[in-house]
């Protein structure tokens, strides 16, 4: 009985996760709530696979339960051994051939989806983004649009009538990472010296979450992904804004002087100033982001101060060292950064 109960729980849990959808979304990273073609194709394939495996489960499970119940030893002194059956060629043939057929069907269904996703043609109006994985943040470059940013990816929504997908080239600056935003696409790894490619074409605007899915070191857990799918207009405006150098007035503030004199510029870049380090995220439009430290904290003045003072308070193991700034220095630098809209 307990076995049956367990099976019911397991099946309902799975069914719930699969079919209880957007009305009360289970999760912003539910693989069964696709909004983009690759995820949609996978969802349809997975439904088919689940149906087939579910059917197999029900059949075999029932036979097992039946056998365990029907052929249990009755308590009366049953001293005789039951009939010894050594095998049956027909049965064994049947349960070899039928699984082979099932496997062939599953294989063919799978092969089609692999080809659809991996060999998808790239239309000429596709947005191209190069994603470079770092320990423990994401660098985004839009080569043709001349934008460099970090940690929060903006892409346009794709209308199914006139698709504008985004094609991502995946590179790594250090170890292996993996780009996984479940509602948009399956994960693809970022491996140094091994460029990979993936694509998404989200049908609905919104913010889609994910995170790095290949262990890359201490702060693998906080290498979060935020993908903003915007209307075409909003996206164009964002691109416009991001491709500007830093909007700074003439006088160099105290904070900017400290920033440009200490080790900050070894790692960080602020377009239009002398800072052009590439080890850390580009800060030119830092204030246009909702989060800092690749999603590890909200982008508030207080968090910014905490981060600069000692990153290991928010993300121990982050590659950014505590800069050892004094109170006034810290305030000045934070104020400078807060002008980088």
């Amino acid at each position: 009985m307990i076995i049956v109960l367990r099976a019911v729980v397991l099946l309902s849990g799975a069914a719930l996760a699969v079919f209880a959808q957007p009305a009360a979304p289970l999760s912003p990273t539910n693989i069964f709530a696709p909004v983009s073609t690759p995820s949609q194709s996978i969802f349809e394939l997975s439904r088919f696979v689940l149906m087939v495996t579910g059917a197999i489960f029900i059949v075999v499970f029932s036979l097992l339960v039946y056998a365990v119940v029907k052929f249990r030893k009755r308590s009366a002194g049953d001293a005789r051994e039951p009939a010894q059956v050594y095998g049956s060629n027909q049965l064994e043939l049947a349960w070899t051939v039928i699984p082979i057929l099932i496997v062939v069907v599953l294989f063919l269904a799978t092969a089609r989806v692999i080809a659809d996703i991996q060999n998808a043609a790239r239309p000429s109006n596709a947005i191209e983004v190069t994603v470079i994985g770092h320990q423990f943040w994401w660098e985004y470059r839009y080569p043709s649009l001349k934008v460099v940013t970090a940690n929060e990816l903006h892409i346009p929504v794709s209308d199914s009538a006139h698709p504008t997908p985004t094609f991502l080239t995946l590179l790594s600056a250090d170890t292996d990472h993996s780009f996984w935003v479940p509602r948009l696409a399956g994960k693809t790894d970022l491996i140094p010296n091994h460029p990979n490619h993936t694509w998404v074409d989200p049908h609905a605007t919104g913010l889609y979450l994910g995170q790095c899915a290949q262990y890359c070191g201490t702060q693998h857990a906080k290498m979060l992904l935020r993908v903003y799918v915007q209307t075409r207009d909003e996206f164009d405006r964002w691109i416009q804004q991001q491709s500007q150098p830093a909007q700074l007035n003439g006088t160099i503030s105290e904070g900017r002087r400290i920033f440009e004199r200490t080790a900050c510029i070894n790692c960080h870049a602020v377009a239009g100033t002398v800072a052009n380090g590439t080890f850390g995220p580009d800060l030119t439009h830092l204030m246009s982001r909702d989060t800092i430290a690749s999603g590890a904290a909200a982008n508030t003045p207080e968090n910014l101060r905490r981060w600069i003072k000692d990153p290991s308070v928010i993300k121990p193991g982050s590659k950014m060292p505590a800069m050892g700034l004094s109170g006034p220095e810290l305030n000045a630098v934070s104020q400078y950064l807060e002008t980088l809209r």
Binding site: E81, Y86, Q211
Partner: protein
């Protein structure tokens, strides 16, 4: 067909030798039974260590943004948990049972190479000690010392000197290298023993299934552990001789490490599961009072599994960016291996069908194994469908799947094997009530933890993260998963208590408490050092059935 009394070892005096001498006998032994027991006890200790590491992780993950342990400690925990459980718990315990049982089941006096046997054990034992030595030094014990933190599959280039400074990764490399030598030694021993030491009349077609399964397992070890050894030597060349095997800056390939590792890693899981199938294939017939259904196809399916398992490895790499053709090939081989594996489930089912099922503890564990292995195989098919894998891979769904196989499949049959052969090894019966209590506690805990663990994977939770954000919908599932650990731990305590208590106070078991049919039950419990007074001669797969049923012997039907 006479029965004879066993010949007792003549003792010159009745007092046991002093403790030092007894310990010395154990340390210098080459007797397969003693080495088998040493492997098993060693593995039980490391099973507990691995369990503690898992518990620490589950406590950290019980709620989002928890701070029970630091990220560094957590990363060391999952690395050590995986490495310990695979190399120093699962493999040694299975080698231990193989060592103990194979000579007895084939009617031999010992393994083919007793000294190699001892050497292999001590290499494995030393490897484990070396790995755990890493907890000393470094960050101190509460920082989990200098234990490796690169994950149990240690992907490049995270393991290069650039990203893994200090010696933590070296502990990983060297401990597995050393124990790998031991594993290959055991494997060569098993192959030679099964091929060269069978008793008269025992053709390969009459070999007990446990011996067949261990034979194929040993073949896989020989072919699969060696690539890992090679890859680790390459990694050492990179780390210490300035080599560039996996140095992406010099044009090297991180993906090549993955290929080499998984060429080991996938057959490795069959190394673990085939002996488990062996236990099930011995226990289920005895407790169903029927011979195994379809012995030839069981052997054939095992050989198929052995071959196909060498060709599926890159299904662990569906997300690394292989071509569509490459991915498709590995989908095909992965799905194909489901066929011989599924066949086995049907054969076990058919063995029970029409039988007379006795629900003692060994059988309870094997019945649960059948249900759980079915589910594990089906989630494996899901993972084998590459696009589905692009979501499920590297997520908690995979963790749930492989724990379903290893715990729900392998560990359950191992528990069954413990209870089944404990009387033979110790001469005493275990306590049946405690055995059943162990079963139900562990069954409940296992399902609480690993059934519900599939859900966070479906909801997007990747693996190897020391914490997670609230608002992802993962919280409740992680809580339930952690609660299951309590029941499993309770079950383990009952199990260990039962073993200890029964060893000293259990009822004396005779040579054949289960009315079974293979040769190990024809000798005393425990067997004498020389196993059999006179070497057996057999004519069928169930020699004791032939003796007990002279009017209806197996050899008339096989």
């Amino acid at each position: 067909m006479a029965t004879t009394e066993s010949i007792a070892m003549p003792l010159s005096d009745t007092s046991p030798p002093p403790l030092v001498e007894r310990l010395h006998q154990w340390v210098t032994t080459v007797d397969h039974k003693r080495l088998g027991i040493m492997y098993i006890l060693y593995a039980l200790v490391f099973l507990v260590f691995g369990g503690v590491e898992a518990t620490i992780m589950r406590i950290q993950l019980i709620r989002p943004l928890n701070d029970f342990v630091s990220p560094r400690v957590f990363n060391r925990m999952f690395t050590m948990h995986g490495t310990t459980m695979i190399f120093f718990a699962a493999m040694p315990i299975l080698f231990g049972f193989a060592n103990y049982l194979i000579p007895l089941m084939i009617g031999a006096r010992d393994m083919a190479f007793p000294r190699l046997n001892a050497f292999s054990f001590w290499m494995t034992a030393f490897g484990g000690l070396l790995l755990y030595f890493s907890f000393l030094g470094g960050d101190g014990l509460y920082g989990a010392g200098n234990a490796p933190d690169v994950g149990w599959f240690a992907y490049a280039p995270l393991t290069s000197q650039t990203f893994s400074r200090g010696h933590s990764t070296d502990f990983w490399i060297l401990s597995i290298l050393v124990s790998g030598v031991g594993s290959i030694g055991v494997a060569i021993n098993i192959i030679t023993t099964v091929l060269c030491m069978r008793c008269r009349g025992m053709t390969l077609g009459k070999l007990p299934l446990l011996a067949w399964l261990n034979l194929i397992m040993a073949g896989l070890v020989v072919l699969a552990v060696s690539p890992l050894t090679a890859a680790q030597l390459m990694l050492l060349v990179d780390r210490y001789l300035g080599g560039h095997f996996f140095d992406t800056q010099a044009g090297g390939s991180a993906v090549m490490w993955m290929h080499f590792f998984w060429i080991f890693g996938h057959p490795e899981v069959y190394v673990l599961v085939l002996p488990a199938f062996g236990f099930a294939s011995e226990i289920i017939p005895v407790f169903s009072r029927k011979t195994i259904f379809g012995y030839p196809i069981m052997v054939g399916a095992t050989i198929c599994i052995g071959f196909i398992s060498m060709s599926v490895w890159a299904h662990h790499m569906f997300t690394v960016g292989m071509s569509a053709a490459g991915n498709t090939f590995f989908v095909l081989t992965t799905m194909a291996i489901a066929v011989p594996t599924g066949i086995k489930i049907f054969n076990w089912l058919a063995t029970m069908w029409g039988g007379q099922i006795h629900f003692q503890t060994p059988m309870l564990f094997c019945i649960a194994f059948l249900f759980q292995f079915l589910i594990a195989g089906l989630t494996g098919i899901m993972l084998g469908s590459a696009p589905f894998n692009w979501h499920l891979g590297n997520s908690y769904f995979v963790i749930a799947h492989f724990h379903y196989v290893i715990v729900g499949g392998i560990l359950f049959t191992l528990f069954g094997a413990f209870y089944y052969w404990f009387p033979k090894m110790s001469g005493r019966m275990y306590n049946e009530t405690l055995g059943k209590l162990h079963f139900w506690l562990f069954f409940l805990g296992f399902h609480l933890t690993f059934d519900f663990m599939h859900v966070p994977g479906i909801l997007g939770m990747p693996r190897r993260i020391y914490t997670y954000e609230p608002g992802r919908g993962w919280d409740i599932w992680n809580l339930i998963v952690t609660i299951g650990v309590l029941f499993q731990a309770a079950g383990m305590l009952v199990f260990l208590g039962n073993l200890l208590w029964s060893y000293w106070r259990g009822q004396v078991a005779g040579s054949d408490p289960w009315d079974a049919w293979t040769l190990e039950w024809s000798t005393t419990s425990p067997p004498p050092a020389y196993n059999f007074a006179s070497l057996p001669e057999v004519r069928s797969r169930r020699p004791l059935w032939d003796l007990k049923h002279p009017e209806d012997p197996d050899w008339q039907y096989e």
